[in-house]
């Protein structure tokens, strides 16, 4: 019963997220509204961590599986991509490496700078 209650809380927040997505004319999906709402609710104590924890972690654990159907759809879009397939693949891979490098190092540099500041 505990897990069902936890699942229901997460579903209810997803529903609020969905409503916000329909009401607000921005391309922000229900899941991001929902994540923000749950985070705020946890920080303010409106929702206790123990009220969502186990089911939440279970959902996160099985999350990779949920990407299978959408990725298998590559099969369908293969034909429309043919004209610039190589460009898509190269751009996707190379820019991922660049973004990973830039965001990771920017974060790391600032964290290290702050550590130094504190020491002085």
């Amino acid at each position: 019963m505990k897990y069902i209650k936890q699942f229901e809380i997460i579903l209810a927040i997803s529903l609020i997220g969905e409503l916000l997505n329909r009401l607000i004319p921005l391309p922000i999906p229900a899941s991001i509204y929902g994540m923000t709402i749950l985070f705020t609710a946890l920080c303010t104590g409106i929702v206790k961590l123990s009220a969502v924890k186990e089911t939440g972690h279970f959902l996160i654990q099985i999350m990779p599986m949920m990407f299978i159907p959408a990725t298998v759809s590559l099969l369908e879009s293969w034909s429309i991509m043919q004209n610039f397939l190589i460009a898509i693949i190269v751009i996707s891979l190379v820019s991922t490496i660049i973004v990973l490098f830039a965001s990771g190092h920017a974060t790391q540099i600032i964290i290290n700078l702050k550590k130094k500041e504190k020491k002085q």
């Binding site: 899941s31 991001i32 961590l49 996160i60 599986m65 460009a87 991922t96 990973l100 974060t107 790391q108």
Partner: protein
């Protein structure tokens, strides 16, 4: 046989979950970086569809219920983030600057390579949302008048790449701090990368979840400016 399977509601879910389990078993037996459970499951599922001749839409009849869980699962990412909230507060400026750097270099690198490949405006804006989570990416691609199906494909390739190589890339590129690792993987390869970051550690996972939301929203703003370049 094909006809029976394609009318089945449980074929799509069954084959997806089954190949994923098989993928985790193979990964356990043979530790090779390309043997990523998600990649193996996708390859095996595509192979099955091609061999049996079952259409994607028929497969998705059942498989869509797996995708359905994606919204609640993404909502649940707030939980590990909350569990690491002290780290978040302590490093807020580093985290925000890190994500912003990623969003800007994403736009710049796509712009530079689009020039290199001689892509037109529509192809260029189609790729702009490639590093962000699918749900935001679809909306953004529509907004920019891109080819939505191709945006989704580029997002999937990016995510899959982050899921397979995220940890390895951090090591090779000298990103050592767990907070920086999470930010890097989440900003570069959205939720699919995040599910990998979760395996690296609690801090990595939480920071990656945060990056998905923040980078997604920042990209919406940045894309409006970047779209004018080509």
């Amino acid at each position: 046989m094909t006809e029976i399977l394609s009318n089945s509601l449980f074929f799509g879910v069954g084959i997806s979950v089954g190949t994923y389990i098989l993928g985790t078993i193979i990964k356990k037996k043979i530790d090779f970086f390309l043997f990523n459970p998600l990649l193996l499951a996708i390859t095996m599922t595509i192979a099955t569809l091609l061999i049996t001749g079952i259409e994607y839409s028929e497969y998705n009849n059942g498989a869509k219920y797996l995708s359905y869980l994606l919204t609640p699962a993404t909502v649940a990412l707030a939980i590990p983030l909350y569990e690491q909230v002290t780290i978040l507060k302590k490093n807020l400026s580093a985290i925000l600057i890190g994500i912003a750097s990623g969003v800007i270099t994403s736009g710049l690198s796509i712009f530079a390579m689009a020039l290199l490949f001689g892509l037109g405006h529509t192809e260029y804006v189609t790729l702009l949302p490639k590093s962000i989570t699918t749900a935001i990416g679809i909306g953004l691609s529509q907004e920019l008048d891109g080819y939505v199906a191709i945006t989704v494909s580029a997002i999937m390739m990016t995510g899959l790449f982050g899921n397979i190589a995220g940890g390895l890339l951090c090591r090779l590129l000298g990103i050592k701090n767990p907070i920086a690792k999470g930010i890097a993987i989440g900003t570069a390869s959205h939720v699919m990368g995040t599910s990998k970051a979760m395996e690296l550690g609690k801090v990595e996972g939480a920071m990656s979840s945060l990056s998905v939301a923040v980078a997604g929203c920042m990209t919406v703003g940045a894309a409006i400016l970047f779209q004018q370049l080509i």
